[in-house]
Symmetry: C2
Subunit: 222 residues, 2 copies
Amino acid sequence: MNYVNKGRLAHDQVSELTTNRLSVYLRCLNQVIDGAGVTTVSSQLLADQFGLNAAQIRKDLAYFGEFGVRGVGYYVKDLRGNLRQILGLDRHLRVAIMGAGNLGLALADYPGFRQEGFEIGGLFDVANEKIGQESRGGVLTYDVKELKRLARRERFDIAMIAVPASRAQPVVDLVVSVGIKAILNFSPGVLKVPNNVKLKGVDLTVSLESLSFFLAQDNAGG
Amino acid sequence: MNYVNKGRLAHDQVSELTTNRLSVYLRCLNQVIDGAGVTTVSSQLLADQFGLNAAQIRKDLAYFGEFGVRGVGYYVKDLRGNLRQILGLDRHLRVAIMGAGNLGLALADYPGFRQEGFEIGGLFDVANEKIGQESRGGVLTYDVKELKRLARRERFDIAMIAVPASRAQPVVDLVVSVGIKAILNFSPGVLKVPNNVKLKGVDLTVSLESLSFFLAQDNAGG
């Protein structure tokens, strides 16, 4: 079965929420595999163990043509391989990180990225004292002036933006100009990209505020 | 109008997706206010400027008793004040960050947190060479053994977990033991907390994988 083609047809219909859930399932399967020598898993077991919804799991997987076997569940390794293919993780995507401050360095060494096959190809910064330094995990910081040359040689697929908000737009413009088509932005604020570039923002304040909301309810109630 | 009480009644019905959207609206209003001397804003303008859904905005705000004025829209400052109250941000929540590595230091100085009134009360680590050091923004790192004493004095509301995955569960247990009721976890993997503690995970790999999915579709299509 060719999941990439199936995925392509469904491109516009597959919401980001669905791909986010597929990512979560993949993370759960990794944990299941890391544990005992489990070969099959049911949607119910995944749901119970990781606090998910069993019916939603079955629906999401069925959408991509992945059907469990009655009384057996899913074959763990096959399911993981298929999820990786659907998510495009079988291609070893290469990532450039713009900004070698604490956030950039933390992202460079974030263990989850490597585990799923993302390769962090380099950090880029303007500060002379950072250029030529390595993160603890061994990722080198380059002069941002080298981005164009290295983007060609290293074939970066994705750029992460970890520069101060005031410098984010020019850095994004630079990234777009060297042909990178997918951007993950950690700076607060709204950035502009051309239509053929996918920009995704990670706003850490949103997560914190959902905890704040919880505490406000809890206080009012208790 | 007392939004906290209204929120309390609705506690179980207000999904995390809704609170996430309210956070996004608040972020947008901040940008509107930072700009020109705008006093009113329509849902349509917010939608156009920030790529949101105008009907969804009206629905979300109406749920909390916030109605726009026909032909005028919403009064920006009032709306912002009400959103802050709904999200519990009028209380100046205090945050402890567990782990003073690159990620902890990046979180300590993340500008968005302070902007919304979160106060980062301290970093906590086990490494002697980190204890007593300050982040660039001036947040001090304490010995983790001091958490209990400081949690009482500083009244921490929220803990962020920025330690390696292998150490996350004991650190969470410690945080729970000193009475902190809300936890934001940046470590990969599943953690256990008692029922009366709210744990929210930020999995950075999920965001990266949604870009990977986009690139896979794009490649198959192009």
